[in-house]
Symmetry: C2
Subunit: 287 residues, 2 copies
């Protein structure tokens, strides 16, 4: 468990890292908080947000004696950071996790370094704004956090991690890294790409059609306004699972084109009714 | 103009017809309001919502002497209704319109019956709930209303219709029926079908994935919860324009599959950035 006297080290003070720091300050005021960033210049932004952590640019020093290490950097920089952290001596029950939005590649890279001390996490909280400027202590409130343990016979680290995410407000679900990447491709990466495709198909050849926009279009395409650089990284990291989902979507769209091409009224009604039934199983937002 | 002493007849007391009746009562309290429904049984629901209109089941009688006739029934029943209304004598400057979500087929059917007295309308207001139970006087507040005049040299009916929609809260845009059907396919019917396809692709083969849903999925697929019968009718009425848009979406999805298949990181970033730029041109909701 996270004791009053624990040391928690957060690597990468962006939206997620900054929000975690604020949430930990709120929830565990006695915890010794450390924040690592690559550049000295990052400290000013952290202080402006009222984060009281000790600040480090030396990744090994920031990890020394820590009970919980949370990697909040882009996924592609985690292996190099892990190699530096591995030189430190963590607390005896020290635990390492990350908040990356893909898990297969992260777990394959970090488990060989940290063994059963490492368990992957993915708190599914806001990603359209970026940077510590957008950080909020309640970002994780009512979010789902997917955690991906792989080693067996080590219940203690798993219980610590679960309790930590619950303490900052998350509902925790446990699955393998492969299951994670499949689920997230289905319910996050696929919808993002479909919003992008819908926006391009509708407006590329007639940008003036935005004058007629109503709320259906606004909602269906909202996430297409997200950061292209961030989403390029996510799509490439979870490429295999996303390709599978996009191929399924392409086949489903072809099915609809065939139904409408005939047209087969009864089949179209069944197709729309099946989607309606599935959509009705989506739990309402809690916030 | 709609005078204090005008008679307005609304055909079809569902969500749109009922909301129009409530809005007219609010905005034009002296107007003589008539409501036509196919069945006597509809009157009880209208009275429960506090609508003070004279109630008719005879379509010809309801139109007698009317200054404005608004058809709010499903699009496919409008031609038969128009034939009955044509037996009535409207007011000298009497005007006929409809609220159907397609315009080409409606205008082709009703213009031969009513000549320059008919102008099509499409107020783009909420369609997920149905029935007079869901009617609201402010349903049209800040909505876009597309009107599709085709005859020239008759400015008076057009000005009356424009003023009427503005009076119930709409922002009015004017275009041909064909332009209307193309725009609406792009920004309403296409996004609806894409939300349906996304829901089916994501959840058909793994309904349990809903446990991981976050707000991106909720927004992107919201409209897929709409009424299958209603949307079957809309898709078939606007089939040609919708097929064109769905084919464009299919080609755009294939483009994305090719970029991600290589993968071409720079091309992916450009693709996502183009969608982001177009999405940023969408005006924010007013309400």
């Amino acid at each position: 468990m996270i004791a009053e006297t624990s040391t928690i080290a957060i690597y990468g003070p962006g939206l997620l890292g900054g929000s975690l720091a604020l949430a930990i300050q709120d929830r565990f005021p006695q915890v010794r908080l450390r924040l690592w960033a690559r550049r000295e210049a990052a400290e000013a932004g952290i202080r402006q947000r009222g984060i009281q952590a000790a600040f480090f640019t030396d990744a090994t020093a920031a990890a020394q004696g820590a009970s919980l290490i949370i990697l909040c950097t882009p996924v592609e920089t985690m292996p190099a950071l892990a190699a530096q952290i591995a030189h430190a001596e963590l607390a005896p029950d020290g635990l390492v996790t990350d908040v990356g939005s893909v898990k297969g590649s992260v777990v394959r890279a970090l488990e060989p370094v940290f063994g059963s001390r490492f368990i992957g996490s993915h708190p599914m909280a806001g990603s359209e704004k970026t940077g510590v400027e957008a950080a909020r202590a309640d970002l994780f409130q009512n979010a789902v956090c997917l955690i991906t343990p792989t080693t067996t016979g080590e219940p203690a680290p798993l219980e610590t991690l679960r309790a930590f995410w619950q303490a900052v407000g998350c509902r925790v679900l446990e699955m393998t890294p492969e299951e994670h990447d499949d689920k997230v491709a289905r319910i996050s990466h696929l919808p993002h790409m479909m919003a992008v495709v819908t926006t391009l198909a509708a407006l590329r050849t007639d940008p003036g059609a935005v004058a007629c926009v109503a709320n259906g279009f606004r909602d269906t395409t909202r996430v297409a306004g997200g950061d292209p650089g961030l989403w390029t990284g996510i799509a490439l990291e979870n490429r295999a699972a996303l390709l599978t989902q996009l191929q399924a979507a392409s086949a489903t769209l072809t099915e609809l084109l065939e139904i409408l091409g005939k047209p087969d009224e009864e089949e179209l009604r069944r197709f729309l009714a099946e989607a309606q039934r599935l959509r009705q199983t989506v739990p309402a937002a809690v916030s």
